[in-house]
Amino acid sequence: MELDEFCREVLPASLGFARVLTADRGLAEDLVQDVLVKLCSRPDRLDAIANREAYVRRMLVNEYVSWGRKWSRISATAQVPDTPTPDPSGAVDDRDLLLTSLAALPRRQRAVIVLRYFAGLADDEIAEELSCSVSTVRSHISRGLAALRISEAVIEGAH
């Protein structure tokens, strides 16, 4: 399989996932580039990947979590829109606060949150994806949601 063909298939979803994971456009592009470079350095294996989107997503998460040195130097910040929007209800404030809190989560917590609430994976699927226990996943989710100030009632009812 050619690089272009592979990229056409996986890039849209991968870029979106990386964008959510990193909370930064530039970092998302770097992350996707790094993963694709790894994949494309052995093109003979591309055809053997059954679920390419899931495979790349897993690599993105692993790269994001494992690449401690680089990512530790980079503090993701929420990209809050410059233009203020009138919002008497305060919804925009809540959204900005949620964005900021989300960007401030530790990488593992954020990864788990993203896998559940963006990728839609169940706890056991996240555990398998990340090679950890379900209880670890739930612990990350619980702490992450607490940091995001999402209500305890929602936490208890989640998944």
């Binding site: 964008r19 959510v20 993203v114």
Partner: protein, 209 residues
């Protein structure tokens, strides 16, 4: 107070704000076409796990497929073979020393196996990291394996290890059944033949070239 639905909506919105795919493809193509840049991160506080994985680069740099031994049942036999080539033998990290600090014993079980076919296996925590490497004289490029660090007692250490793994070179010596590695980061690592604690590979797999 936000809800889970708010969180889902927010993430979906974020996902729409993505860089252009065309530029990514071009950048990937350029990077694949040229050698990977060397990454030399400042290496402070490297863990035993990190040091162990970084040290594989050193072992791989002396890879001689036709001289390797098969994985042996006893460590002493393995050590004898390692005097000329470390390929085909499991090694366990027993101590490490950070620059300017005293040697420390290792609590995380870490073993390394260099296969004659040009691939390596590092067993650390619950993970087997496997990938390939290339040699150019004294220089080694080891293709770091993307893996999850979640099974490690300290995932941060594993993360550091993955960063240290890339393009690492060092000096090695073997004496009295001990392999000593001096990494580029100034760490001193001591290995001894590993008892067969981990799943042992079939000799034919180890020997395959």
């Amino acid at each position: 107070m936000p809800t889970e639905d708010d969180l889902r909506a927010l993430l979906q919105d974020e996902a729409r704000d993505v860089p252009g795919a065309h530029g990514v493809v071009g950048a990937v193509r350029d990077r694949v076409a040229r050698p990977a840049p060397r990454r030399w991160p400042t290496f402070v506080g490297v863990s035993a796990v990190a040091a162990a994985i970084a040290a594989v680069a050193v072992l791989l740099s002396v890879n001689r497929p036709d001289e390797h031994s098969q994985t042996s049942e006893t460590g002493a036999e393995s050590a004898a073979d390692l005097a000329t080539s470390p390929v085909g033998t499991d090694w366990r990290l027993v101590a490490y020393q950070h620059p300017g600090k005293s040697p420390q014993s290792v609590t995380v079980e870490t073993s390394m196996l260099l296969r004659g076919n040009g691939t390596y296996r590092i067993h650390v925590c619950k993970h087997d990291l496997t990938d390939v490497y290339t040699l150019d004289g004294d220089s080694l490029h080891i293709r770091d394996s993307s893996t999850a660090a979640w099974a490690c007692p300290d995932p941060e250490e594993m993360a550091t290890a993955m960063a240290a793994l890339s393009n690492s070179t060092s000096r090695w010596s073997i004496s009295n059944d001990e392999l000593t590695l001096n990494t580029d980061f100034g760490d001193v690592l001591t290995y001894r033949p590993a008892p067969q604690t981990y799943p042992k590979e079939h000799p034919s797999e180890v020997a395959s070239s």
